[in-house]
Amino acid sequence: MKKMPSRTLLAALLLTASAATQAQALRVGLAEDPDVLDPTLARTFVGRLVFAALCDKLVDVDEKLTIVPQLALSWAWSTDNKALTMKLRPGVKFHDGEPLDAAAVKFNLERHKTLPGSNRRGELAPLASVDVVDPLTVRLNLSAPFSPLLATLADRAGMMVSPKAAQAAGDKFGSKPVCSGPFKFVERVAQDRMVFERFDGYWNKAAVHFDKITYTPIPDATVRLANLKSGQLDFIERVASSDIEKLKSDKKLKTASITEIGYQGITINIAKSDRAKQNPLGRDARVREAFELSLDRQGLAQVVMDNEAQVGNQWVAPSNTFYAKNMPVPKRDVARARALLKEAGVPNPSFTLVTPTTSDAQRLALVVQAMTRDAGFDVKIQAAEFATSLNMADKGDFEAYVLAWSGRADPDGNTFSFHACKQPLNYSGYCSAETDALLNQARTLRDVAERRKVYEQVAAQVLKERPVIYLYHRNWLWAYNAKLSGVQQIPDGLLRVTGLKLAP
């Protein structure tokens, strides 16, 4: 009789203990304050980090950038590659209880295309119409074959919001988003924090081990790290490369480093405006070749990023499937650079390199300035605030510009907007009918090997002209509490919250 009470006591203690471990919160530190939390209107990288907890997408990508199911369980292309039929996961609900069915998917895709101010319109341009085949099957009809579609649906264009909530809120949806991800929106205090709590109706709730997630923007990397070290945060993104070395020996913390799908490069004005003609770098491809040859990419990666970067010379990293092996990374050759400049008749070309005011970019510009001086280049550095530099780039009011791109899972996302004629992000002014034809062809092919062959031809053409000098691909650097397990390192730099567990 005496044993009974103690057993119940033990059971009670165990229950409270497990309940206590269940009431866990994950505190994430971001490098910036995200913009509006509406997948249709959103436009920042850091917003995508938050969406990873808030909104599920039709498909996702894994570490190898392969498309994996999320809201869609399976998909099949039609024989003419102009229609993609997707079968949805049954029993999925939005945060407000509404069912996620084919009608909801149709609503969302149409919203992405038609909402005024939508930033997804360009990505979904080839999508002509959406058919509801049955409550769990949708068919996306394209105006022309478009193989990057699945990769696009693995990003914001594939995020589904509750039609009921979207219709009720109109364009104010972003202030109280209703999605179908593992966590639902609780509150947001601008520049202070975003709080999300566990969604009990989530289809994969067994993999969710937190009750609450808070995202706090802390722009200063030193302060962000200080917060992690002092235990106020559990996870931070974009650790400064100079801090990583010391963190590796800290027993209380773990680090993660994965090469991005984007790149860091220098865009050169070769035909965007008259300024291209007035400048030897923009006028003569030989001068550009000399410029590239006078750079030591490995040295750049070392000095600027403390070796936390993979050197490259294309829009995708050498480790990427679509890297054109026929155009390997050139080695530094100052003698040849000088010879080329002499041949071009400009032994000491001078130009202005515009750089954003971030410390990484400025460091890069300084090192480039010093390296190219050996070949005779006189690089002047001009810092421009982000807002001003966008204007300048658009008007072609620059000679060379330090520009990075966050990257897209499909190689088309890293090339088309930049190298096809008159595209919005084509700041260099490069325009070639052949390249356009090749880029369009690569979009229509589905077989990876075939596409790679086409991109090899694109590389041969574009890299010869050098509208962009690709330098390296930075590593996404994360640091987190050593007790946190289940961190998936995916090249898109976003933290997936399912599977994360914080040991007590």
Binding site: R43, E123, A190, P219, A387, L390, P424
Partner: protein
């Protein structure tokens, strides 16, 4: 007095109009296209065109000014183009934070500045003068963002006593709130302490050489009593009124301090909005703070006027 009040109130209106024109001009004339910034990485031309129309960016400057002022007079300060949150809501959200920071900073400044000023005035020419001066002035001799970073490294990372950044509402947890505010308040307060020390010192010097103090000394009162009971009371009036005007300096200092400590107050909001070309936010916040400052000025003038019978005559 009524006349005085009316006259001053009449001056406020044109001042506020100039403030609105100044801040509007400073924002809208900044280079860079807010529509392009809002259009994000993709830079979709359709989106840019849509945003330009929505934000009236293609209309001439005076027309845009009229739109804005019209809205303000109806209580609508516009909305943040970045997060679509109404500016008024943003202001009300962040006002308590900045107010708390300002109050704590002012308190620290008074606690440091006034005793330092007294010590410097009373011990004029001696080593106490130098000590008091350096003690109060070191705060304005260091960039506050720099001091902030040093404090974070010492108290948060090395010692672990205080949180490195972030803000907790006093209603949620008063202890955590004070812990998160004490360092930024200290940094800000130090900057003002120097100014308060100067004011206290000059006021004390003036009072210490005045007739009634000489009388007090002649009566045989000991020095501490003279200083504290007679001199200080009279010296404090100009100090307090002048100190209240330091609100402007506080806000200036808050700009970077909040950035470093990630305190979600006005300062951080303004800086981020300038760089994001979020015009409405900057214009709205500056208008609100300028109005507050001007009102405070008026109250200070009134207090001075009331306290000084000679002016009233």
């Amino acid at each position: 007095m009524f006349e005085f009040l009316l006259k001053r109130l009449a001056q406020i209106v044109p001042t506020l109009i100039f403030v609105s024109m100044l801040i509007f001009g400073l924002q809208q004339l900044l280079p860079g296209d807010p529509a392009k910034i809002l259009a994000g990485e993709e830079q979709d031309p359709t989106v840019i065109a849509y945003l330009r129309t929505k934000l009236h960016l293609d209309e001439p400057l005076p027309v845009r000014y009229a739109y804005w002022v019209g809205g303000v007079l109806q209580g609508d300060l516009g909305e943040s183009v970045r997060t679509q949150q109404p500016v008024l809501e943003l202001v009300l959200q962040k006002l308590p934070v900045t107010l708390q920071l300002a109050t704590m900073a002012m308190t620290i400044a008074l606690v440091i500045g006034i005793p330092a000023g007294i010590a410097s005035a009373v011990g004029r020419g001696t080593v106490w003068d130098t000590v008091a001066n350096v003690f109060a002035l070191w705060g304005i001799s260091t960039p506050n963002f720099w001091l902030g970073i040093l404090l974070i490294l010492l108290f948060s990372v090395q010692l672990g006593w205080l949180p490195a950044s972030g803000y907790v509402s006093p209603f949620d947890d008063l202890g955590a709130n004070l812990a998160s505010m004490i360092m930024p308040a200290f940094v800000l307060g130090n900057a003002i302490a120097g100014v308060l020390m100067r004011h206290t010192r000059s006021a004390m010097l003036q009072v210490l050489s005045s007739d009634y103090v000489r009388t007090a000394r002649a009566k045989g009162l000991r020095e501490p009593a003279v200083v504290l009971k007679h001199a200080l009371r009279n010296a404090l009036t100009p100090v307090i009124t002048l100190g209240a005007l330091e609100l402007g300096t506080l806000l200036s200092g808050a700009v970077l301090t909040e950035q470093v400590f990630t305190i979600p107050g006005f300062g951080k909001l303004i800086v981020d909005s300038v760089f994001n070309r979020d015009y409405a936010v900057v214009q709205g916040v500056v208008l609100v703070t300028a109005t507050a400052y001007i009102t405070l000025n008026l109250l200070a003038d009134l207090a001075y006027f009331l306290a000084n019978p000679r002016l009233r005559a």
